[in-house]
Symmetry: C2
Subunit: 312 residues, 2 copies
């Protein structure tokens, strides 16, 4: 694999993801609604569309978690609005009778603005979620938020909230410590490789290192963790997880696999018929642009594809 091209591809899409100009242009040129290509990765703008997608996934025997996309709100009012929106999403999901599981980001609830407000907003969502038997996954963002996100999670855990879990990224150098910290609590962890552009002192840069650490953390989570989620589309990672579980005689209910909506559907169908709980992460909402860009950044081949469509 060409690492320099992969790195370029990642930078390219992350620049796009963070670019206000591009976002604005995209919205001006009618890209507000997911384009047909984006539609492959985004279930729609409205919760009803996500629920419809979730029903189809569940009909195939898979689980779902719904992510109402959004991040980096810039004011307390926006954070309050996002929180109200999320409460509505919780109610809509419960009423629809699909799996009660959501994912959210703390910058969506105000982490860039005020920490105490963020905790209050999260607590409101966890309360409503608990009253309706939801599990809430607190997504992880860039390394600038890792420590604060885990601390906020621990604060709520100490207050007795058990309907939430976190995400650990294998590309971060700190992650082994964080996995042990979450295992000690008994908290549910989703393990991913990580999709943000990170500096060398925070994250491993080579795929080999990221993969080696992914395997190490996977084993730590399977052996000592609480119902972890192994979230990856990478066949060698999946194979290694199955092999480790088999070698230890772990039952199928000990952990779950997770993949993103629209990615490697072939693999999804194969794994889900295998007996392991299998969950699809279903993103939806109007703020799909940064999420979409991060997904494109994960596959260098996409640069060409997008460059072509931009030039057309």
């Amino acid at each position: 694999m060409d690492f320099s091209f992969a790195a370029f591809s990642k930078s390219f899409f992350h620049a796009l993801a963070g670019s206000g100009t591009i976002k604005e242009a995209a919205s001006r040129y009618g890209m507000r609604r997911p384009t047909s290509f984006a539609r492959r990765f985004i279930a729609g703008e409205r919760v009803e569309e996500a629920i419809e997608a979730a029903r189809a996934i569940e009909a195939d025997g898979m689980l779902v978690t719904l992510d109402f996309l959004g991040e980096s709100v810039a004011s307390i009012d926006e954070a309050a609005a996002a929180t109200r929106d999320y409460l509505g999403v919780v109610d809509a999901i419960a009423a629809a009778g699909i799996g009660r599981n959501i994912s959210l980001k703390l910058t969506q609830l105000g982490l860039d603005v005020d920490r105490a407000t963020t905790v209050d907003n999260l607590r409101r969502i966890l309360d409503r979620a608990a009253a309706q038997d939801f599990f809430v996954r607190i997504d992880m963002e860039s390394s600038a938020y890792t420590e604060r996100t885990l601390e906020i999670f621990e604060t709520l855990w100490q207050q007795g909230y058990r309907n939430a879990g976190v995400v650990i990224q294998s590309y971060l150098r700190r992650s082994e410590k964080d996995v042990r910290r979450m295992n000690a609590l008994g908290a549910r962890v989703r393990l991913v490789k990580g999709a943000y552009k990170e500096p060398k002192d925070a994250a491993y840069q080579s795929m080999d290192e990221v993969n080696a650490q992914y395997l190490e953390l996977m084993r730590l989570l399977l052996d000592e963790g609480t119902y972890p989620a192994i979230a990856t589309h990478d066949p060698p990672m999946i194979e290694a997880t199955r092999a480790h579980a088999a070698s230890r005689g772990y039952p199928t209910g000990r952990f779950e696999f997770q993949m993103l909506y629209g990615i490697r559907r072939d693999l999804q169908a194969r794994l889900s018929s295998d007996g392991y709980p299998f969950r699809v992460y279903v993103p939806f909402g109007r703020d799909w642009f940064p999420y979409f860009m991060r997904r494109l950044g994960e596959r260098p081949a996409n640069v060409l594809f997008v460059a072509k469509s931009l030039l057309r």
Copy 2:
């Protein structure tokens, strides 16, 4: 309260509950389907009826757990049949889109016949349940099963199953130790007073002692437990729980209240509008007779009612 009459009432109904003759007679005289009085406590014979009842409960903002009634199967074949039935119930609930939470008894899965078979049956149910995001409550039965039930639970916990919890009865003298044991694991406990007829060396006999221990265990669970369920219809117990949570500043998502289908519906409506997660235990199935008798045994006033209707 007249304790001797209460004790007589309990014995009376427990004799009926355990009586093969009465059960047979009941079935011979067309009492196989729940009578209109029993209907108050049993959601129906079929899972479809229980799902309908659950929908109504959820529409009122409450949670459910469905119990497919059954206990004390006498052969490995019957245990296998009950297990298959339960797998069907799991699928039906998931398809219906109501809350994914069931309760079951280990003697239903073969605990009177063979322990290893029981563990296998339970594991099959927990696997299917995990693949569809269910929580499974392992009900507690008489003190003859307490240790074995907790041991089986611990075995599966060690294997990584986290989608299950247990029940602790405050009338048992051993229960403080058991609560600490479950709290140390991080396991979810439902706290009840207990509804079986127990010998003096195993259980407190006076209501005062049972209540005092209930309050002590409630505090132990709220302070050190994992999302416990405070299951009682007794207003002083409920008030003490709310007072304790308020005095410690515990948030509403830290624990839940539970009550049985059809009992104290006035209280259920009031409590559920209070913000605490509130779950209704919805029993259904053809083997409703022993459950029904235990419920009658909980209120001495029922003796007269039933005696009258038997004499009519």
